[in-house]
Amino acid sequence: MSIIITKAGLCDTVQDGGRYGFRHLGLGPSGPMDAFSAAVANSLVGNHQLAAVLEMSFPAAVLRFEKPALIALSGANLNALVNGKELSLNRPHLLKSGDVVRFGERQAGVWCYLAVKGGFQGGTLLGSQSTHLAAALGKRLAKGDRLQFDTRNLDLDNTKLTWQASLPPESPRIRCLRGPEWHLLSGEDQLALSSQSFIITKDCNRMGYRLEGPPISGGDAALLSSAVESGTVQLLPGGQCIVLMAEHQTTGGYARIASVISADIGRLAQLPAGETFCFEFIDVAGAEALLLQQQHYLAQLAQSCKLKLQSLNDDLGD
């Protein structure tokens, strides 16, 4: 008994850090579409970064809290309200038993993350709570479903929850590496990929995002199946591309012409249909540095939030 879904959203699922180690059996890790935002939400409430969160997109569920909870929202701005009052992103909020959280129109981004102090405690399959819709591991949340969490040390003063995450600035481009089949492309096509804009189409889901852009040739030749992963940009017959996302298949037979860097996959996932962007090709060292920088930011955020929560608990005395 903790949170009850009183109205289902379109695609609300529980995601933790992911289910790793099973790719050789055809099972990819799944996990959040924007792992960075999920980690921010978790850090704000003192959770481990990979704790289970609720991932929502527009239109999102209506949630009634059946017991008090310390929550935080990060990622997309879906105009969250609690009992009619604005529930802002990137800061903790203390909710009471009976509080109802609703979401309105999509204002920015696509995937919104709700973290609750203690993390959600749902069914674990193969060591993870991450829903993998394509593999039928877990499912979209439906009306009447309940999300359990463990409440401890919630005797907090709401007015003292003053911390918030100020997010690092974002690069205007989506950085990527050249893919294993980059060499199959003509010079003109390679140039087009690195200089022209691409549009996010409506054909996007947790498996992959279809793009619209300058037609690239070379996608018609059938290749032997080979491993792919999140961020892999596949060239489809017909000249358009698809970027694989959280619930990607573990192998594929299309040319892998690029790979979005780990640090930017979440940002790409947050681009809505109709949005345009450009790729920027960088090298592996650059990609690693950006990921480590992002992880450093998250570690600092987690540390500082933990200290603030700790000091609040200490203030209450014993």
């Binding site: 790719r23 399959l125 193969l126 591991l137 590496l177 290749l223 199946s225 192998t251 592996v284």
Partner: protein
């Protein structure tokens, strides 16, 4: 480069992503010899999984090696260099060899459970009995798993049964469908869309997610299909993964 010196099959190492390398052998047809090589590397690297290496994905002519960027960071090496240093300490792939079990999969080859069986017979101008004999004859190799959890790519299908995928894939292929395409055969472990020809059905579950070893088939295993009657299919019991 160490690998290339000892390998009879020269390959390149590229980045699949900023978290994974891919060992890529030249493109060609599916071959048992190349598969032996890839699976030998797969088995040789498997004991290292859980530390620097987080996952290994073999395929027809490649082996993807997923690694932990944190563990790598401690060494100040590039991923490719770190991997090759690790490999340098391993026994050579030829010495490691392939490990694998043989799995018998009961299959009912009846039109009522296999919607493409009669069409295939007409297409190839052979009888259903001949299809059954051809399909259930070989000992197939599990080249790798992909596409779906528990979907094992088996080869090599006899040339007489070779067909291209359907132009328009089915929206729903049922779990347990035994299918063929190209030189491959497979069992669909879950209901899913699919473009392969459905020539049989097995009552044996291919996956069991309550079990950490949730797949009946692993890379390098062998599969033999055993024809069963429609009656046996409907009354089949047992067969835990």
């Amino acid at each position: 480069m160490y690998f290339q010196q000892v390998s009879a099959f020269p390959f390149t190492i590229k980045h699949l992503s900023d978290r994974a390398l891919i060992l890529q052998w030249p493109a060609g047809d599916m071959s048992h010899e190349l598969s032996n090589e890839i699976l030998a590397w797969y088995h040789a690297l498997l004991p290292l999984k859980g530390d620097l290496i987080t996952d290994l994905v073999p395929a027809y002519n490649s082996l993807a090696v997923f690694y932990s960027i944190h563990k790598l960071g401690n060494t100040h090496k590039t991923a490719a260099d770190a991997l090759m240093e690790l490999a340098g300490a391993l026994p050579t792939p030829a010495a490691t060899g392939i490990e694998g079990k043989t799995v018998h999969i009961p299959v009912c080859y009846e039109p009522s459970v296999a919607p493409d069986l009669e069409r295939l017979a007409a297409e190839k101008n052979i009888s259903i009995e001949e299809i059954i004999a051809l399909h259930s004859g070989p000992r197939y190799r599990v080249y790798f798993l992909g596409f779906l959890p528990g979907f094992a790519y088996l080869g090599k299908l006899p040339a007489a049964l070779q067909v291209n995928r359907h132009e328009v894939p089915r929206q729903r292929v049922p779990a347990g469908a035994v299918a063929i395409a190209g030189y491959q055969t497979a069992v669909y472990p879950l209901e899913s869309p699919g473009g392969w020809w459905l020539i049989g059905k097995t009552p044996l579950p291919m996956t069991d997610f309550t079990n950490p070893d949730f797949c009946r088939l692993q890379p390098g295993d062998s599969v033999i299909f055993k024809p069963i009657s429609l009656d046996e299919y409907h009354h089949y019991k047992g067969g835990a993964v």
